[in-house]
Amino acid sequence: MKSQRSLEIGTGLFVLLGFAALFFLTTQLPGSGLSLGEQAGYSVTAKFDNVGDLKVGSPVSMAGVRIGRVEAIRFDPTDYRAVVSLKVESSFDRIPDDSDASIQTQGLLGGKYVGIGPGGSETFLKQGSQIEFTQSAIVLESLVNKFFANFASKDAGTDTAKAE
């Protein structure tokens, strides 16, 4: 009877563990929802014309050092821009309030992150303040298009010169 009981407990534990794992795989892995552990800090917002594929949880860095993460990305229907709220760790509390934010890419294929460039102001960013100077994500396709358009027109120019 004792062994029967421990067998049932073992089976129950195994099945429970298995279903918990299945639940995690189906609900937490796709899409958002996994919390990374809240860190103390203050949030500031910045408006961008285009955030590219910036994601919630992406790093916010200054001079290459991570100082926080992207907390939320919303869309502002009044001026058709993206509002990104950045959670900056409280130890980095001396960032000038005229600093600029730009969306940059890690490596060639890496994800996007928000880079902060320091300004020269004597007052600092605090909870709820907005970063005024922003630069959007560089969309690689438009850059390549621009480059090839330039190239093609130059090429056409030399061709006609030769023909003459």
Partner: protein
């Protein structure tokens, strides 16, 4: 040679149909099935978790080394999650399952055959297919997807351990890119694969045990054949399922 192979395939399919016919009556007595879930699942848990951890850690190292060359080590989370969900989880778990639970099933049933226990049941008009084979088959089929899910989780933890803790991949990028890239279809692919593998491994194990020659050598050979046939079958089914899923 060809005739013998065809005959074996036919025998396995006929055996499968007979077992499937006995599955519902066997489910009416869940205690035996629970016992077999314990044997096949709970007792494989340690080896599954241990192997998952190390496979994940290796994937973390190798993936980091490879992705670093392209400057995109942040994609490690994506690589690990998709690798585990779609391929490594189901296949490695099925191979381990064949070695750990499949062999135990085969030798147990083979010994029952060799010591005339199955014949005795038949003499008493107790159908061994219903009372011995079907619960073991069902236990394996039910245990496999759960084992695969646990293997995936532990593996991801291992990859995270190496990637984030040791190699300093940014945890935010690791998880956020993973969540952005993994879709529910990827998870379903893994679940479908694990169910199919559980089906195949359990079937081969009980078939080989049930038809083992009633000698010490026969049971030994049947156990070996379980591992070989299950492994080949798992890899074969894996290719077909992968092609089917990619072709959609």
């Amino acid at each position: 040679m060809i005739g013998a192979s065809l005959g074996r395939i036919g025998a396995v399919v006929l055996f499968l149909l007979r077992v499937l016919g006995q599955c519902l009556p066997a489910l009416a007595k869940p205690r035996a099935v629970i016992h077999q879930i314990y044997n096949a699942g709970a007792r494989s848990l340690i080896i599954i978790m241990l192997c998952g951890l190390f496979v994940g850690m290796v994937l973390g190292l190798q993936g980091f080394d490879l992705l670093q060359r392209f400057g995109s080590e942040d994609a490690l989370g994506v690589a690990a999650a998709l690798g585990f969900l779609k391929e490594l989880g189901p296949v490695v778990t099925a191979l381990l399952f064949a070695g750990r639970a499949g062999t135990a099933l085969t030798s147990e049933i083979g010994l029952m055959r060799a010591t005339d226990q199955l014949t005795a049941m038949e003499m008493m008009a107790v159908d061994p297919l219903r009372h011995v084979i079907a619960p073991r088959f069902l236990g394996g089929v039910i245990a496999m997807p759960l084992l695969v899910a646990i293997f995936d989780i532990v593996g991801l933890f291992g990859a995270q351990l190496i990637g984030v803790q040791l190699m300093a991949v940014d945890p935010g990028a690791f998880w956020s890119q993973m969540q952005a890239a993994v879709e529910l279809d990827d998870v379903y692919e893994g679940i479908v694969k694990s169910i199919c593998f559980g089906f195949a491994c359990s079937l081969i194990a009980v078939y080989e045990g049930y038809h083992a020659p009633p000698t010490a050598q026969g049971v030994g050979l049947a156990t070996t054949r379980t591992v070989v046939v299950s492994s080949v079958l798992v890899l074969l089914i894996d290719y077909m399922l992968t092609a089917a899923f990619l072709g959609r």
